[in-house]
């Protein structure tokens, strides 16, 4: 297993280490529910160094990225970040990524750990006809996420830049955090306000320690992959491999806002256009269990004994205290209020289609 620069920290903090896509990372420290609630009510600190970073540089960098993703990168400005699916020709998803714009000829793509090698190869292959350089820089970056309503106050203790000026989905390079240069990004994957710090692996332990110390009074807890998953799930943020995949298009996943079909040609455009014109046959909706039970990834969803889809993600939602799921269902069963059954370990349990996001985000606009 690969270790992040914070591996020893996780051990000494009592983290329970698991193999996550080949990375030795903590699934939890004090407990998933505890950590989840800390992020909703105060703040949590996550090691997300496993994420991949791919640099795209060169004269045509911006145009090239605009060609390989579905969102409209031409609207991006330096210092801002854009979320976008990146699709195959058939409309299925290669990955969902963050695009950081330094300038038109220098952009950073942040990709899912489990997709990094695939993404890099895909991007490299597609870059042949463009004047760009594509570099996998993942080993040069550690990444720490500080998330929660107290995140700004905690981080402000360690930096002079006025954090109130940094808006959601904006970033600033070479920010000093306790004297250490970081790329500071107001982003996250928890449904809370917060920051992601990209920094040199050799600085990771120092910054991690300083942040934990700075957040002690505010109730900051180190948080593991378990809470990261329940937090993103409760906020109805998609996870690649569950809500998004080679077989599920961004339109089916409810990410139509991030698919700009009116921009010039991009990979997957014709398929997605066709899918939109013909109308979706299935899509991802939220479910709330009416009869108690924990719906989980892969469980079948039924109506009148007939299979109508599957659960993509499901869990007890620790903050909302409900049993919830995201499910990919036949379009005929996707209206809010629709009753369906989830096969939970051999028993059909009643559930109802509900609005998403389950948990309303509180971001810094």
């Amino acid at each position: 297993m690969k270790k992040t620069p914070l591996y020893e920290k996780h051990i000494s903090l009592g983290g329970r280490i698991v193999d996550f896509l080949g990375w030795a990372l903590p699934v939890q420290y004090s407990g998933i529910v505890d950590e989840h609630l800390a992020v909703r009510n105060a703040a949590g600190l996550f090691d997300v160094s496993h994420m991949g970073e791919i640099e795209v540089k060169g004269k045509e960098a911006l145009n090239f990225i605009n060609y390989i993703v579905t969102n409209d990168v031409s609207r991006l400005v330096p210092g801002k970040i854009m979320y976008s699916p990146m699709c195959y020709e058939h409309g299925g998803v290669v990955d969902d990524i963050l695009i950081y714009m330094h300038d038109e000829s220098n952009l950073l793509l942040v990709v899912n750990a489990g997709n990094k090698d695939k993404d890099y190869q895909w991007i490299l292959d597609k870059s042949k006809d463009f004047d760009v350089n594509v570099l996998d820089m993942s080993d040069s970056y550690a990444q720490i996420a500080l998330q929660g309503p107290k995140a700004e106050g905690i981080l402000q203790k360690l930096t002079d830049i006025p954090l109130g000026d940094l808006k959601f989905y904006a970033f600033k390079d070479e920010v000093l955090v306790d004297g250490v240069k970081v790329l500071l990004s107001r982003t996250g994957y928890t449904g809370e306000d917060g920051f992601e710090l990209y920094l040199s692996p050799s600085d990771a332990v120092h910054v991690w320690d300083k942040l934990l110390e700075a957040g002690k009074e505010e109730g900051l807890l180190p948080a593991g992959l378990g809470a990261r998953d329940t937090l993103r799930f409760e906020a109805s943020l998609p996870l690649y491999g569950q809500e998004l995949s080679e077989e599920i298009t961004p339109l089916e996943a409810g990410l139509g806002f991030f698919v700009k079909l009116d921009k010039e040609d991009f990979i997957g455009k014709s398929s997605l256009l066709e899918q939109k014109e013909k109308g979706l046959k299935r899509k991802i909706v939220g479910l709330e269990m009416i009869e108690k039970g924990v719906p989980r990834h892969g469980y079948e969803v039924r109506s009148q004994g007939k299979a109508i889809g599957t659960i993509t993600s499901g869990s007890f939602a620790p903050y909302l205290e409900k049993y919830l799921a995201l499910a990919l269902l036949d379009i005929d069963f996707t209206e809010v209020g629709q009753e369906v059954y989830v096969d939970i370990r051999g028993r059909d349990r009643l559930a109802e289609v509900v609005e998403t996001p389950f948990y309303k985000r509180r971001y810094k606009r």
Partner: protein
């Protein structure tokens, strides 16, 4: 880890306390610790007949669902309904919060279960395997 001396145990991490031919059954401290936050308990049905070793109910943590195996044979005569609304009681005190009471058809089965010392050793071995 807490392993009370006066209980009997299974290798699958259930405990048994016998009172008047009735077996109070729950999951051990080791089990709740390794499961993590328990968010749902699927109780057995009162009146159902179980064989020793049957998966007769389940507990679910945030990350996974786990079967609970009956340590003894008999009939389920009572279940701990408070676990339906407060599954976290199994984390807070796994020995106080039994899951079900079984009227044993063969009380001799209890003798075949592990005592505290053997169970402690078994847990140590499992810890080593996981490490």
């Amino acid at each position: 880890m807490n392993i009370p001396e006066d209980l009997r145990y299974t290798k699958t991490h259930e405990w048994v306390r016998v009172e008047d031919g009735r077996a109070y059954v729950g999951i051990t401290d080791f089990a709740q610790e390794h499961l993590g936050d328990i968010v749902y308990v699927e109780l057995p049905e009162v009146g159902s007949e179980v064989e020793a070793g049957d998966a007769f109910c389940s507990v679910e943590s945030v990350k996974a669902a786990s079967d609970v195996y009956s340590p003894v044979s008999g009939k389920v005569i009572e279940v701990n309904g408070s676990l339906e609304d407060e599954p976290e009681l199994l984390n807070e005190d796994p020995y106080e919060n039994w899951i079900a009471v079984i009227e044993m058809s063969d009380p001799g089965e209890v003798d075949a279960l592990l005592d505290a010392e053997s169970y402690a050793k078994h847990c140590e071995e499992e810890e080593e395997e996981m490490a």
